[in-house]
Subunit: 352 residues, 2 copies
Amino acid sequence: AKTYNITLLPGDGIGPEVISVAKNVLNLAASLEGIEFKFKEMPMGGAALDLTGVPLPDETLETAKQSDAVLLGAIGGYKWDKNEKHLKPETGLLQLRAGLKVFANLRPASVLPQLVDASTLKKEVAEGVDLMVVRELTGGIYFGKPRGFGTNENGEEIGYNTEVYAAYEIDRIARIAFETARKRNGKLCSVDKANVLEASMFWRKRVIAIAEEYPDVELTHMYVDNAAMQLFDTIVTNNIFGDILSDEASMITGSIGMLPSASLGESGPGLFEPIHGSAPDIAGQDKANPLATILSAAMLLKYGLGEVKAAERIELAVLNTLDRGFRTGDIYSDGNKLVGCKEMGEEVLKSV
Amino acid sequence: AKTYNITLLPGDGIGPEVISVAKNVLNLAASLEGIEFKFKEMPMGGAALDLTGVPLPDETLETAKQSDAVLLGAIGGYKWDKNEKHLKPETGLLQLRAGLKVFANLRPASVLPQLVDASTLKKEVAEGVDLMVVRELTGGIYFGKPRGFGTNENGEEIGYNTEVYAAYEIDRIARIAFETARKRNGKLCSVDKANVLEASMFWRKRVIAIAEEYPDVELTHMYVDNAAMQLFDTIVTNNIFGDILSDEASMITGSIGMLPSASLGESGPGLFEPIHGSAPDIAGQDKANPLATILSAAMLLKYGLGEVKAAERIELAVLNTLDRGFRTGDIYSDGNKLVGCKEMGEEVLKSV
Ligand SMILES: CC(C)[C@H](C(=O)O)[C@@H](O)C(=O)O
Ligand SMILES: CC(C)[C@H](C(=O)O)[C@@H](O)C(=O)O
């Protein structure tokens, strides 16, 4: 049997609950396709802070790097919100992304026919929403230097960050986005603020240059404020705009509890995580929707390991479970069966 | 009779059409309250570029500064999209905001009962949406230095900008936001990305400090990605996040053609403009919705001149016109009367 090493990073809040469910689903789907998984669970985020004093222990990063793929639950919580920057759970996540060099974050968001009722949008608008945000993940204002606190020339206290992109950073994310668009409907929209920001003008210039390699893909450009009004198709954008727009997309589809993501680099293991957060308010109550993490596990199989059949087993199992009417609270609508995190997981297992 | 000097900046695209309609409404509402207006129309944006070679001629800025309030249509268009930065219409707008020192941009967004059907949201969700985005307008990454193009330490080409806020910039916008929240439901949500950005950590620290002056206002904080999923209440945020979130809010309410804005400084004339753009694709076709500009004229009366009665005349006239079923294409729904920009203006005039 083929064997893969998978690093599991449950993290904080609802993270451990959704990871435990997704692990079982992943395991079953793989074994039915003759694949064997060796799982290693490592501390990360607030959990790692409490245990080791840092949000990303060296052993966690090393284990992740040496594995074939990494599945993350969620990190963060009120408890650590006031920590200094280097002691925030979020800093651990950024270190993990940078350490794994996963610069391309794919965030699909579609409204499943079964969940049209759960969307805040009108039925006519929600039906057929099918977006893909390709977010640059290891550059831009998240990582740019100089950054910090200081005083300006008038002696006033300031806080500052740098939005910066180098040509190679834009080129490589653009290529991933063009490839992705090619597999979808052949259309790509690059989102920037090139009417105001130099970093965006440069972004647009490079995206246009890379477009020459993809004459079959139709490229358009849109300002980010405009994009916030009319999300559609495949979008490629910088780290911070991608953060905002992909969460907005999740609102449009009705449940952030449904949306997976894949973060990929040139080589090495990919990082797979639901786009929702750690939801500390419902942690430990068996209320979390595990489907985003289960679908992230499917992305792990497909994009991380190239195990398309096992991935499809999981995707179909999720659809089948929804067809059978099982819903966690966040996607519940009249006439369906309300279940908790564990039971949802068991129902998916039945359908794998 | 009280006399005020008003600078009109029609700008580009549909700008001249909506300004011409709004001017008539403004004039009538004022004269019914015994107020006299002296209007001066000046070139700005692409129109100014074509006429004078710069997007904000000195005479335009001087006239604006010397007047009691400024009403702007919209600027920009495909024609100038490839211009160098200092020759972009948008640069003229930023120079105008900076020149007038209007650091506080108020962007209300509500779903009028008459227009619930025009929203992309489900009726239950759309009903009662009533937001106010208080956007910092003359600082942050829009104006921060250093900015530009260059090479990094590895000799790679880069584009970069600086997100920077000084204490006084945050303090003054926070005060305006607390005052605004006090007049609404006493709740203020400050939106930042303090889990990642130092500029946001500093923003949050100053907003918390200013909160001591407003013990009656309930202050909360939210990360911008989270806010993009659940807009509500009164929000105070930086220049770029405000740009994105207020346009998203307009999508939620169903028509960007309805939303006004006011930009205010410590003293001096305020700048009033619809939040929509110049819509070059429908320019000159008498299709534009003039209501956002008409409602901006109402904000001019209320926030700019303190002429509350004349402002209310306009607000009521707009509601009355909608009650009578008149709709431009962007807000049209079955059973109403489809009208153009001019006719909509005439109907509002009848109700003033
Ligand atoms: C937790 C935070 C640092 C992170 C981000 O901003 O990237 C999260 O919002 C996300 O989108 O994965
Ligand atoms: C035209 C552009 C510079 C402007 C901005 O980004 O501020 C516009 O989008 C707005 O929101 O008024």
